[in-house]
Amino acid sequence: MKPIYFDNHATTQLDPRVLQAMLPYFTEHFGNAASRNHAYGWEAEEAVEKSRRQIASLIGANAKEIVFTSGATESNNLAIKGVAEMYAEKGNHIITAATEHKAVLDTCKHLEKKGCRVTYLPVMGDGRIDLDMLRGAITDQTILISIMYANNEIGVVQPVAEIGKIAKERGVLFHTDAVQAVGKIPVNVIADQVDLLSVTAHKMYGPKGVGALYVRRKSPRVQLTAQMDGGGHERGMRSGTLNVPGIVGLGEACAIAQAEMPEESQRLRGMRDRLRARLEATLDEVFINGSMEHRLPHNLNMSFAYVEGESLLMGIDDIAVSSGSACTSATLEPSYVLKALGLGDDMAHTSIRFGLGRFNTEAEIDYVADKMIAVVTKLRELSPLYEMVKEGIDLSKVQWTAH
């Protein structure tokens, strides 16, 4: 049996309706959207323009403001590097946050080597940035604020509309990596006063390898320096033959998300809350990481104190989830997002991220809750830390032999 999939922040299953929409564009409608002089090209271009309208509709944009990319990593790179280069004469300061995705953080680190100055705002205990700190960080050299819409680990939603307002007041461009939010919660680039916004198809039941960048065209008209040279596609911002089937899939995924979001987000929120309630009812010493109030409806991130994350994952090998434990990361460091919330390494090691999605069921929630309770209970019987705490020992006062 395949594991139950609760890792929908990593990627989502392609919706069969999306696949159906894509299929003709692999075979009979195989044209290049840039071919202007025959029907193959026109068909492809028509499909691309339809997708542009579908994405724009979901985020309150104009279709002309959508630039297709290979995914959110490229969108983030294009937005941040494109602004840094285009507006270099205006200033060289960028503001971002400690809990951003690596596609933003590493792009900023790259720009630091090229002479940019970057402020990495800390986050508060609930995972949100402090708006006063943001205001205080803006200087006359600031050209860009890049703050994610919702976090991929803890699902915490940033005060995007307030950030947009501050950016507008100070004449600074605002980019948001919205891959976890678009299609899941209402996102509107007008209401939120966003200038650049990254999306990707595979986080919302579309295919991998295709994404988009929203680039505001009016008040202000945002300009970007292209990061790839070539045929000047996508208004010169992103050269390269368009991935027509992928783009069709992204558009269809947006249309479905727009139609079903109210019902779907409510259903997932109910399931998420049920999972949380069942775990908290039986297990002591479990802690929610990040704000519950400002959070994606389908995310739950919990620390199961005194149980190490990788051993927990081993016990629930029929459930696909992620952990903030060092042992599960490539760097052997516990999650930098959880550490930014102020969690000690010990608690970061014990965290599990549950990401629910469209294809999960109530029955799966109950199965996962039962299994989590059984495995955590078993591992706590094995845990010297849990035993010590139950004996009334304060672990912070113990002399550990760090190695």
Binding site: E308, S311, G315, S325, E381, L382, W400, H403
Partner: protein, 135 residues
């Protein structure tokens, strides 16, 4: 990560889980590691005062599957050995037995440290000189 069958077996059926009376003069307790490093092992031995043989061994481990397996295996090996024989257990023996990958070698090191710490505690209780700890 793929785990070896032996690691999986120890994880699913850990041997000798539990605690011995740490105040008993015949019991040696070793606790190594730290919560912020992601692993803590507690290993205990009980030495028969007449034969000098380790009659019982127990462990509790907070850590990954390989750490649990390393300490579980250590308790199996300790039982029936004299204290001096137990001191000869090397982390590389654990690595080989469990087929640990390079990133998990520290789990075996921790288990060896736990054995030495438990024996040290026992020796000190018996009035003997403490072992020289490498670290």
């Amino acid at each position: 990560m793929a785990y070896s069958n032996k690691v999986l077996d120890h994880y699913n059926h850990p041997r000798n889980v539990g605690s011995l009376d740490k105040n008993d003069a015949q019991v040696g307790t070793g606790m190594v590691g730290a919560p912020e490093c992601g692993d803590v092992m507690k290993l205990q031995i009980k030495v028969n005062p007449e034969t000098g043989i380790i009659d019982d061994a127990k462990f509790k481990t907070f850590g990954c599957g390989s750490a649990i397996a390393s300490s579980s295996l250590a308790t199996e090996w300790l039982k029936g050995k004299t204290v001096d024989e137990a001191l000869a257990i090397k982390n590389t023996d654990i690595v080989n037995e469990l087929a640990l990958p390079p990133v998990k070698i520290h789990c075996s090191v921790l288990a060896e440290d736990a054995i030495k710490a438990a024996i040290n505690d026992y020796k000190v209780k018996q009035g003997a000189a403490p072992l020289l700890q490498a670290h």
